[in-house]
Symmetry: C2
Subunit: 334 residues, 2 copies
DNA sequence: CTGTTAGCGCCTTCAG
DNA sequence: CTGAAGGCGCTAACAG
């Protein structure tokens, strides 16, 4: 494997000059530049990134920490991250934690070991205090999740108002008894979606019935079980709002399982807009998160933070929108 | 950021000793070892991987080149790769090409730049000759795809015999007119699945009708269109075998769209067994690839190749199995 | 068991 | 515009 000095010798110049043409830092005569380039090509020279990284004390790599890469929601976010990373010559290291907090911390440690220049957390199982502490020391951006009132770079949507919009939609279709399946309530975005649901009800003068609220854990099966509890009610809801698409799918399964129709008998709304939402029958009406854009934006902020660690930390809120498909049908007539 | 020499000074030893306790190479007295460890903890020392990498001329990183990370098939493979990588202290760099051949080559180049120690190709858009040439120079393993008769490390399933099994199953249910939707025929695994279908027909003494074979491109919409062509036939098939689950989903949509039932009127089989296969209605009977295991196995082979580049290259064929769900129903009575 | 020393390959002042 | 030289932080001989 040819190295810089080989190129230098062949071109009859010094390593400094080779380094200069590599960096494209203009101060090389056209003539020598050509000589060097010819030599590089002849030797099939590739600069050794290991050496460059050590010298510059940067790795040109960022870590994306996610709970589970086989969850389709995250892969779209990653694609956004990757796109911006590539444009700026950064690589992305995959930090799949398998939902393990220890693994999360280990990946973050990569920065201290200089194997990465920054981290994106698309999960935040670690305690908020810890994350804040880490964010003081290293470039870190949190995506999708957030920490309340924290002085920290974050990119999310507004989970409260988007949930409220769902209630608006359901009410406009004539529903007055709306069930809600929340995500795990120890997660802030789950609480936000619940909050939006509750304030949506209030806005329309509907009373809140705690039996209509069930806690799930974002899986299809928890959606199925929660929906069953809702269907067991003396007076079941005419619509169910699930806090993510997987749970909405479980809900649809539960409803069909009892011989009811969606949306004929009961309307269903999801959240996230993953691909399955378009494939399931009926196609799911859901809150579409700008996943790709979240990824892009997160990476852009991280890049700024890496270049200038004293950049003011900000919480960016991206717009989402309700996608109306088939699972809510048309206005109820009762 | 504390470095090794700081630890050495604080512990009153030389850097070599610190390096030794870090490497755990036994030849340090218990006493000094403790001193060093205390110093490391006190300074909150983390070894600089950049320096270590340069010194050892390795990056402890491998690149996984995939066409599209938001395709759920690949993420399961990646999880398998990641698991083994983690066990061996390797990191995985994501090489999402977005189906671009140039990007594929660029990611492979990372090895020559020593930013990675090996590559896993879960796609192979690049020409076989080029791949073989590259594999001579760097540790490279191909997963899911393969190159015929090549002296190259590959991990796949047997696409021919598994497709034949699908035909066996369909025939056992009474089907004699079986449609086939292939993947793009410039891809070898598509041709293999077609080959299995054809030889399956022959095995059961069924004649091959070329109008029953349609070429798709692995997307839902191509499945939909191909299925429509099949349904337009004067004598449509009683069963359709699609070469992947996405196309099978498109097929089911097309069939339902015409007012027919699956499996009541027409049976459908897919290939891959991605998550959607269990969610779609009817749940899809499909060939289940051991995706996670493919990932694990591929990474293990790559590891061997990295440690010993002269390892004999081998083509590992992993077992798959047919998962029978609802989309084929029960034996036909005609 | 421990210390000394010479690089890994590159970038970047500082001179010229 | 070009060259010489000093590290980046660590590991691996080689001595002792």
């Amino acid at each position: 494997m040819a190295k810089m000095i080989d190129v230098a010798k062949l071109a009859g110049v010094s390593v400094a000059t080779v380094s200069r043409v590599l960096a494209g830092s203009g101060k090389v005569s056209k003539n020598t530049k050509e000589k060097v380039e010819r030599a590089m090509k002849e030797l099939n020279y590739k600069p050794n990134k290991l050496a460059r990284n050590l010298r510059k004390l940067e790795s040109k790599t960022i870590v994306v920490v996610i709970p589970d890469i086989s969850n389709p929601f995250f892969t779209d976010v990653i694609r956004g991250i990757q796109q911006v990373a590539q444009q700026h010559d950064y690589y992305v290291l995959l930090g799949d934690t398998g939902n393990d907090v220890k693994a999360e911390l280990d990946f973050i440690d990569l920065i201290k070991e200089r194997a990465a220049d920054g981290v994106i957390l698309v999960t935040a199982r670690t305690s908020p205090e810890k994350i804040l502490e880490i964010a003081q020391e290293v470039p870190l951006v949190v995506a999708c999740e957030y920490i309340k009132g924290a002085h920290l770079s974050m990119v999310t949507i507004d989970n409260v108002s988007s949930s409220q919009k769902v209630v608006d939609h359901l009410v406009s279709l004539g529903h007055r008894r709306i069930g809600f399946i929340s995500g795990p309530l120890n997660v802030i975005i789950s609480r936000d979606r619940l909050k939006g649901y509750v304030s949506g009800l209030k806005k329309h003068g509907l009373e809140q019935d705690s039996s209509l609220i069930q806690e799930g854990d974002f899986t299809i099966s928890s959606g199925f079980e929660s929906a069953n509890r809702l269907l067991d009610l003396a007076e079941p809801p005419t619509a169910v709002f699930a806090s993510n698409d997987e749970m909405a799918i479980g809900t649809i399964k539960a409803i069909k399982n009892r011989g009811f129709q969606v949306p004929g008998d009961i309307a269903v709304v999801g959240f996230d807009d993953i691909q399955i939402a378009t494939v399931i029958e009926p196609a799911l009406t859901t809150v579409s998160q700008p996943k790709f854009e979240i990824g892009r934006c997160t990476m852009e902020i991280l890049l700024e933070l890496i270049q200038n660690p004293s950049t003011r930390q900000e919480h960016v809120v991206l717009p989402e929108h309700l996608v109306i498909r088939e699972s809510c049908g048309y206005p109820l007539v009762r």
